[in-house]
C-alpha cells in the first residue's frame, strides 16, 4: 500500500486559517497581549481572502481522494465569508471591549468558526461536510456562552447546543441511509447511485428526508426554526452579528453541496420538501416578526423568512435559480451585517439598544444613521432601488422560469406582510420623537465609516447590481455546467 501525498494547494486557505488559529492560541497563552489577537484575526481573515483569490482556478479541482473540492462558487463564497467576518469583527470590537469579551478565546473561536465554514463550502464528501458543520456549530455554541455570568446567554447556548446536536443526529442518520444505498460517502458517487436508481427508492427518500431536515435546522428554516429567535435574542449582540451573517453563506453552500452535488438526480423529491419549508418559513417568519418588540428577535424572524426565500431559488433547480440564491445569500449577509452593526452601534457600555423603542426619533438625533438604517430596512423589505429588491427579483424570476408561478405569487404576498415590520422601524425613526433619556451614541471611527460604506453599498449595488450578479452566475456556471 502506497501513501500518496494529496495536493494541498486547493486547501491552502483552510490550512492558513488553521495554522493562524493555532498561532493565535499560543500568542494568547504566552504573551497576554491587549489588541494583538484582534489584529491577528483581521490579518488572518484578510490573508485567507487573498489566498482564496490567488489560488482560485476556473475548473473544479478535487483533492484528498475526492473529499475536498475547490471550485469557483466555493472560492467566491469563502471570499465573501472572510469579508463578512472582517466587517463583523470591526463592528463588534468596541462592543466587546466594553463588555470585557475582547479576549483571545473569542477570536480563536471566530477563526475556528470561519474554518468550519470554509470546510463546509469546499466539502465534496459527507464526512468533510459533517466535519465542517460540527466545527462551525461547536465554535458558535461556545461563542454564545462566552458571556459566562449572563443567564440569558447561557440559556441560549444550552438550547442551541441541544437542538444543534439533534440536528446533527438527523443529518448523520440521513447520511448513513444514503451510504447504505450507494456504498459511498462521496457526493458524486452518491449522485451516481441515486441516478442509476438500482437500489430501493424508499431508502433513498427516507435518507433524503433526514438530510433535508438537518439542513433545515442549520439554515433555520421552518419548521426547524425554533432555535433562531432564542439564540439571536440571548446571545451578546456581537455574537448575533457573527451568527447572523457569514454562516448563512456556509449554509447556502451546505444546501448546494448536499442537494445539487449529492442529490441532484432526486431533485423531484427534494423540490417539494423545499417548497413546503420555504412557504412555512416565509409565513412563520414574516407573521411572527410583526409581533416582536425586541429588534434582535424581530430580525431573527426576518432571517427565517429570508431563508425561505433563499430556498425558493434553490428549488427552482436551474442555473438562474442557483445564482439567484447565491446572490440572495450574499446580499442578505450584506444587509444583516449593516443592521446588526447598527444595533451594536447604538448600544454603549452597559446598555443594549435592542428594543424597538430605542429607535424612536433616530432621525432627530442622528439623521445620517437614520438614513442608513432606513436604506437597510427598505432593502430588507425588497424595495427598489435597493439591492434587496434584485435579490427577490432574481429569485422570483427563476421560480417563474421553472414554472412555479403559484409559489411566486405566494412569496410575493408574504413579502408584502414582511414590508410592514420593516416599515415600522422606518416609522419609529422618522415619525416619532426620541425619548428624553436616549443614550448618547458613541463609537469608534473605523466602525462608523464602515457602517456608512455598508449602507451605501446597499444603495450602490441596488443601482448597479450587474457586477455582483454576473459574478454569481459565472461562479455557479463554472462549478456546475
Amino acid at each position: 500500500m502506497s501513501f500518496q501525498m494529496p495536493d494541498i494547494l486547493p486547501a491552502l486557505p483552510e490550512i492558513f486559517v488553521l495554522s493562524m488559529a493555532c498561532v493565535l492560541l499560543l500568542v494568547e497563552a504566552y504573551l497576554k497581549p491587549k489588541t494583538a489577537t484582534y489584529l491577528i484575526t483581521l490579518g488572518t481573515l484578510l490573508g485567507s481572502a487573498a489566498i482564496t483569490v490567488f489560488t482560485g482556478m476556473l475548473d473544479p479541482v478535487y483533492t484528498f481522494n475526492g473529499m475536498f473540492v475547490d471550485d469557483v462558487m466555493g472560492d467566491m463564497l469563502k471570499l465573501m465569508a472572510d469579508l463578512a467576518a472582517i466587517v463583523a469583527m470591526i463592528y463588534s470590537r468596541q462592543y466587546l471591549a466594553d463588555r470585557e469579551m475582547l479576549r483571545g478565546e473569542y477570536f480563536a473561536l471566530v477563526l475556528f468558526a470561519v474554518l468550519g465554514m470554509m470546510v463546509m463550502i469546499s466539502a465534496s464528501h459527507f464526512l468533510t461536510l459533517y466535519l465542517g458543520v460540527e466545527l462551525l456549530s461547536l465554535s458558535l455554541y461556545a461563542m454564545v456562552a462566552l458571556q459566562r455570568d449572563s443567564a440569558r446567554a447561557t440559556e441560549a447556548a444550552m438550547k442551541y447546543f441541544i437542538l444543534g446536536a439533534l440536528a446533527s443526529g438527523l443529518l448523520l442518520y440521513g447520511m448513513s441511509m444514503l451510504y447504505g444505498l450507494s456504498g459511498s460517502l462521496e457526493l458524486s458517487k452518491v449522485a451516481r447511485a441515486v441516478h442509476e436508481g438500482t437500489q430501493s427508492n424508499m431508502v433513498m427518500v427516507f435518507g433524503l428526508v433526514f438530510v433535508v431536515a438537518g439542513l433545515g435546522f442549520k439554515l433555520g428554516a421552518a419548521p426547524f426554526h425554533m432555535w433562531v429567535p432564542d439564540i439571536y435574542h440571548g446571545a451578546p449582540t456581537a455574537v448575533t452579528l457573527f451568527i447572523g451573517t457569514a454562516p448563512k453563506l456556509a449554509a447556502f453552500a451546505f444546501a448546494m453541496r448536499l442537494l445539487v452535488d449529492g442529490l441532484q438526480p432526486a431533485h423531484g423529491d427534494w423540490q417539494q420538501m423545499l417548497a413546503v419549508m420555504a412557504v412555512m418559513s416565509m409565513a412563520i417568519g414574516n407573521l411572527a416578526a410583526i409581533m416582536q418588540s425586541n429588534i434582535k428577535r424581530m430580525l431573527a424572524y426576518s432571517t427565517i423568512a429570508h431563508m425561505g426565500f433563499l430556498l425558493l431559488g434553490i428549488l427552482s433547480g436551474s442555473l438562474a435559480g442557483f445564482s439567484a440564491s447565491m446572490f440572495y445569500a450574499i446580499t442578505y449577509v450584506l444587509m444583516s451585517l449593516g443592521t446588526f452593526g447598527m444595533v451594536i452601534y447604538l448600544s454603549s457600555a452597559g446598555y443594549e439598544a435592542e428594543n424597538l423603542d430605542d429607535y424612536k426619533g433616530l432621525n432627530a438625533r442622528h439623521p445620517w444613521l437614520a438614513a442608513i438604517m432606513g436604506m437597510l430596512m427598505l432593502s430588507m423589505a425588497g424595495l427598489p432601488p435597493f439591492v434587496g429588491f434584485y435579490a427577490k427579483f432574481t429569485v422570483l424570476q427563476s421560480l417563474v422560469g421553472a414554472g412555479w408561478l403559484g409559489l411566486a405569487v405566494v412569496a410575493v404576498l408574504f413579502s408584502l406582510i414582511g414590508a410592514y415590520y420593516y416599515l415600522r422601524i422606518v416609522k419609529l425613526m422618522y415619525f416619532d420623537t426620541p425619548h428624553a433619556d436616549a443614550h448618547p451614541i458613541a463609537m469608534a471611527g473605523d466602525a462608523r465609516i464602515l457602517l456608512s460604506v455598508n449602507g451605501l453599498a446597499v444603495l450602490g449595488l441596488g443601482l448597479m447590481p450587474q457586477a455582483l450578479m454576473a459574478l454569481c452566475t459565472a461562479s455557479v456556471q463554472f462549478s456546475y455546467w
Binding site: 434584485y390 432574481t394 410575493v412 408584502l416 414590508a419 422606518v426 416609522k427
Partner: protein
C-alpha cells in the same frame, strides 16, 4: 432625463442647518427640472407615434434589463405636469414647513425625479423600480410632516400600493418569459397571449394600477392619505401619483392584453361609473374640506378610466385631458385649502364662513378653481369631461347619462362647500383675523389659474401632441393578439 435626476440629487446635497439656502436650492432644482423638461415639448414631433428622445444603455445585462427611456404623446404631457407641479409645491412649502426643511425639499425633488422616470421608462423593470421607489419619499412626506393620524395613513397608503405593485412584478416576470426573454415594454406590446394568460395578467396589472388611480372599491387609502398629508404632499398625490395609475392602464393594460381589456371593459366601466356617481354622493356629505376634494378626485379619475375603456378617440383623449386638467385643478384646490389651513389650522367646513370678507383676492381664485372642479365651460375641467361624455354616448346612452350626473354632483358638492366656506357672515373671530394671500401665494395660484383657463379655452396644443399616439394606441388595441 438623467440630467434632471443628477441635478435633483445635487440639490439634496445641501443638507445642512441653513434653511433659507435649502429653499433656494430646492427652488433652483425644481426650476431647472422644468427647464430641462420644456424642450421635450418644443422639440416634440407630434406626427409620429414612435418613442422620441430615447436613451438606451445596458443596465443589468445578466437580467436583460436595459436603461431605456423615451416619451411619446401620452407620456410627454405628464412629465411637464410633474415638473411644473414640483415647482409649485416647493413654492407652496416655502413658509409653511419650518422643521426639517432640507429633508422636506429633498424628498419632493427626489420624488419628482422618480416620477419622471416612471413616465419615461420603456423597460419593464426600470418602470417597476421607479414605480416602487416613488412610494418611499411619499411615505416619508406623509409620515413626517402630516397631521395627527399620519402614521396610520402613511402605512396604509404604502401597504395598499405595495400589494398592487408586487402582483404586477410577477406579471412582468411572466411576460419576460412569454416574450422569449425581454423586459422591453414595446416588445411586450407585440406578443400574442392566450385568453387565460391575458385575463390573469389583466388582473395583476389591474390591482397595481387600480389601487393607484384609485378606482372604487380600492380607493380607501386616498382620503386618509390626503387628509393627513401636508399640503404639498396632497398636491403631489392628487396631481401626479394618481396619474401614474391611469398612465399604467394606457402603457401596459390596453396594449399588452387588448382582448382581456375588451372582455372586461364592462366591468371597468361599471367600476368607473360607481366611482363617478357613488363617490360623488359621498363627497357631498364630507365635513372636512380635504376629504371632500379627495373624494372628488376619485370621482374625476373615474371619468378617466371610463374614457379609456370605451375605446374611442374622444374617450381616450378626453381621459388624458381630464388627467392633466385634474392635475392642475386638484392641486389648486388643495393649495387653497392649505392657504386657509395655514391661517386657521382647521380643515372643517364648519369652522369657516364669510372668508370672502377678509380675503377677497383669495376668494376670487378659490371661486375659479371651484368652478373648474365642477366642470364649468371655459375651464379645463369642462373640456375633458365633455369629451369623455361625447365618447361615451357613442357607446351607450345610459352610460353617458350616468356619467353626466357628475356635472350635477360635482357642482353640488364643490359649490356648496364654497358657499359655506366663503360666503355669508363672518363665522368666528379666527375668520375675522384672516389676512389675504401674500405675493408668493398669489404667484402660485395665478400660475395655476392661467393654465386652467388656458386649457379650457384653447386645449388644442395639448390634444395635438397626444393625437397621433392615441390613434396608434387605439389601432393597436382594436387588433386582437389572441393565440389559442
Amino acid at each position: 432625463m438623467p440630467i434632471v435626476f443628477g441635478l435633483l440629487i445635487l440639490a439634496t446635497g445641501g443638507d445642512d442647518r441653513n434653511a433659507d439656502g435649502q429653499r433656494t436650492l430646492a427652488l433652483l432644482g425644481a426650476a431647472l427640472g422644468l427647464a430641462v423638461a420644456i424642450p421635450l415639448w418644443t422639440g416634440f414631433d407630434a406626427t409620429t407615434a414612435d418613442m422620441q428622445f430615447t436613451e438606451m444603455a445596458a443596465w443589468i445585462p445578466a437580467l436583460e434589463v436595459n436603461y431605456h427611456l423615451g416619451v411619446d404623446g401620452i407620456s410627454m404631457p405628464f412629465i411637464l405636469l410633474n415638473s411644473f407641479t414640483t415647482l409649485i409645491v416647493i413654492l407652496a412649502g416655502w413658509q409653511v414647513i419650518q422643521n426639517k426643511v432640507g429633508q422636506y425639499m429633498a424628498a419632493f425633488l427626489i420624488q419628482s425625479g422618480i416620477i419622471n422616470g416612471v413616465f419615461a421608462a420603456l423597460d419593464g423593470v426600470l418602470f417597476y423600480v421607479f414605480f416602487e421607489a416613488m412610494l418611499i419619499p411619499l411615505y416619508l412626506i406623509v409620515g413626517m410632516w402630516g397631521g395627527p393620524n399620519r402614521v396610520y395613513a402613511a402605512i396604509k397608503f404604502f401597504l395598499y400600493t405595495l400589494l398592487g405593485s408586487l402582483l404586477m412584478l410577477v406579471a412582468m416576470i411572466y411576460l419576460f418569459f412569454a416574450s422569449g426573454g425581454s423586459f422591453e415594454i414595446l416588445t411586450w406590446h407585440k406578443i400574442g397571449l392566450t385568453m387565460t394568460a391575458q385575463t390573469l395578467l389583466f388582473v395583476a396589472f389591474f390591482f397595481a394600477f387600480a389601487v393607484k388611480v384609485p378606482m372604487w372599491p380600492v380607493h380607501t387609502w386616498l382620503p386618509d392619505a390626503h387628509v393627513e398629508a401636508p399640503t404639498g404632499g396632497s398636491v403631489v398625490l392628487a396631481a401626479i401619483t394618481l396619474k401614474v395609475g391611469a398612465y399604467g392602464f394606457l402603457r401596459f393594460v390596453l396594449p399588452i392584453v387588448p382582448d382581456a381589456s375588451h372582455e372586461l371593459a364592462g366591468f371597468m366601466i361599471f367600476l368607473s361609473l360607481v366611482a363617478v356617481v357613488y363617490i360623488g354622493l359621498v363627497a357631498l356629505v364630507q365635513a372636512d374640506m380635504k376629504k371632500l376634494i379627495a373624494y372628488s378626485s376619485i370621482a374625476h379619475m373615474g371619468f378617466v378610466t371610463l374614457g379609456f375603456f370605451i375605446f374611442n378617440q374622444w374617450g381616450m383623449e378626453g381621459g388624458l385631458i381630464q388627467m392633466i386638467s385634474h392635475g392642475f385643478i386638484s392641486g389648486a384646490m388643495f393649495l387653497c385649502v392649505g392657504v386657509m389651513y395655514d391661517r386657521v389650522h382647521s380643515r372643517q367646513i364648519a369652522d369657516y364662513g364669510g372668508v370672502a370678507n377678509t380675503m377677497p383676492r383669495f376668494a376670487a381664485f378659490f371661486m375659479l378653481f371651484a368652478m373648474a372642479n365642477s366642470g364649468l365651460p371655459a375651464t379645463s375641467g369642462f373640456v375633458g369631461e365633455f369629451m369623455v361624455i361625447l365618447g361615451t354616448i357613442q357607446v351607450s346612452f345610459w352610460y353617458a347619462a350616468l356619467a353626466a350626473t357628475t356635472l350635477i354632483f360635482g357642482a353640488a358638492y364643490t359649490l356648496w362647500m364654497y358657499k359655506r366656506v366663503v360666503f355669508g357672515k363672518i363665522a368666528n373671530e379666527h375668520v375675522a383675523e384672516l389676512t389675504d394671500i401674500n405675493a408668493r401665494e398669489f404667484l402660485v395660484l395665478s400660475l395655476l389659474a392661467v393654465l386652467v383657463l388656458g386649457m379650457g379655452v384653447y386645449p388644442l396644443p395639448v390634444t395635438e401632441v397626444m393625437h397621433t399616439s392615441v390613434e396608434n394606441l387605439l389601432a393597436h388595441v382594436a387588433h386582437s393578439k389572441l393565440i389559442p
